[in-house]
Amino acid sequence: MLEIMEGSHAVAEIVKRCRPQVISAYPITPQTHIVEDLAQMVANCELDAEYITVESEFSALSACLGASAAGSRVYSATTSQGLILMAEVCFNAAGMRQPIVMTIANRSLGAPLSIWNDQQDSIALRDSGWLQFYAEDNQETADLHMIAYKVCEDHDILLPAFVCFDGFILTHTYEPVDLPSQEEVDAYLPAFTPYHRLDAAMPLSMGMYATPEYYMEFRYEIDRAMHRARDAFIKAGREFNEQFGRDYSSLVEGYRLDDADVALIAMGSICGTAKDAVDEMRDAGRKVGLLKIRTYRPFPGPEIADALKDVSTVAVLDKNISLGNGGAVGTEVKAALYGSDIAVYDYIIALGGRDVRKRDITAVVDLAEKGEGDMFYGLRTEVL
């Protein structure tokens, strides 16, 4: 049943129904409401979990890592500087193959200090070995948490995941969300069965020292698991659709791409605004569509190439910047389309919370059609 609620509350409610056994997190804007809600649920005995309060994000994810290694289903949430403080633990969690699920309430990084949204934080952890899922709205955000646990805990995968949703734009927005009941979540997501865990009766080491004879093979195995996660995500998404009637059985989602000349590519909440802009452009007779990237890791290169094989021009909206090179999504889309004759242009947009309107999306399409791209969009040149 659809109910109107804040995005952060929807996340807390679905996380509760995923039955994490250990939660550790440190509050940071705009993630705070999620962990406040969960702390209250634990205090009220609505959620039978250990909630470990800590003094920093580094400790929060370290506590999660230990609890996961001991065989628990664990959860955390963070954003921005908090995620960057976790960076070392992020690499360790992936390397130790612990299926931790963490919500990222996407926010820009300082300096200059900004509490507002872009996706620089999770993009900065691109190479950490975590799966990265991006949600367009609060329904998709909630649903992707269930899928994330299912994919991560698959014994063929055993990797951690970020479920990313845009800070403030989704975290603080009240909109209708249909939350599955506890029984429905239980039917979709069985209890966690660890593949291996810390056990005094059967001692083992995790995250140990690997000499040059072994290190590369560990990295290779992580990379293979990341690639296997493509099929695991599709399978988990298909099962989700069968049970709940919402389709996440693809790493990408096309919107009005049939017969499109120009395709926009984007991740996260900007896709909603872009869909409305596409509708307006279609009404005006322009052949424009959108390809939404749902999983940034694993990156859906083959899916992008397949979905866009008939377009002439691609405009990528990047809410991040790899300083000195361009947007992270645009760079990877160009690699995915290498060898085709499709013109791919990248637009750095909406950094630090700058608002994006339908007319901005249309203006980007105008630029792409003129062959102008690989640029920041919407700069206030008067303050430069």
Partner: protein, 167 residues
């Protein structure tokens, strides 16, 4: 933001999709803040702020002059302004219908505090017809309990009746 959230809740109760969100990052009582609400028969995908409002609610009329509260309003749109002075000093764009309500006094009398969210919701419901009084009451009883719910409902009803007479 509380008012926006409650209006969205009440509108959704009335059978339309609704979305409410703050102008992010500066939510604190006493500072000029904005929050936005959209209603639609279809699922709402648009995430930008509202630049051309059909309706505005001004919770503190002393903002008028410092902030162009009427910006983007078109003829036929409606402004609801909390003020003690019906003849407030502000340039209203042509064709914008203005309702004034002394929500602060109503809130002080009904709630004992000058928090005008729920009073202005009553005024909004009456002035725009976008939400029904019973949806509004349901939203308030969902948010508040016991005597606080009763007090907020009567504050909203007083403003609803006042504006209802004028509309």
């Amino acid at each position: 933001m509380t008012a926006a959230e409650l209006i969205a809740f009440a509108a959704f109760e009335g059978g339309v999709y609704a979305q409410a969100f703050p102008a992010f990052g500066v939510e604190r009582r006493g500072a000029p803040v904005q929050a936005f609400v959209r209603f639609s028969d279809k699922k709402i995908r648009l995430r930008s702020q509202v630049y051309e409002p059909d309706y505005i609610i001004v919770q503190d009329s002393t903002l008028i002059g410092d902030v162009d509260v009427f910006r983007g309003m078109k003829p036929g749109s409606i402004a609801i302004i909390n003020t003690e002075k019906p003849d407030f000093d502000g340039r209203v764009p042509e064709g914008v219908k203005v309702y004034v309500v002394d929500a602060t006094t109503i809130a002080l009398e009904e709630l004992g505090v000058p928090i005008t969210n729920t009073t202005l919701m009553g005024a909004f419901a009456a002035a725009t017809g976008e939400i029904k009084l019973e949806s509004l009451e349901h939203a308030l009883r969902n948010r508040f309990s016991g005597s606080m719910a009763d007090k907020n409902v009567s504050a909203a009803e007083r403003a609803y009746s006042l504006i209802g007479g004028a509309a």
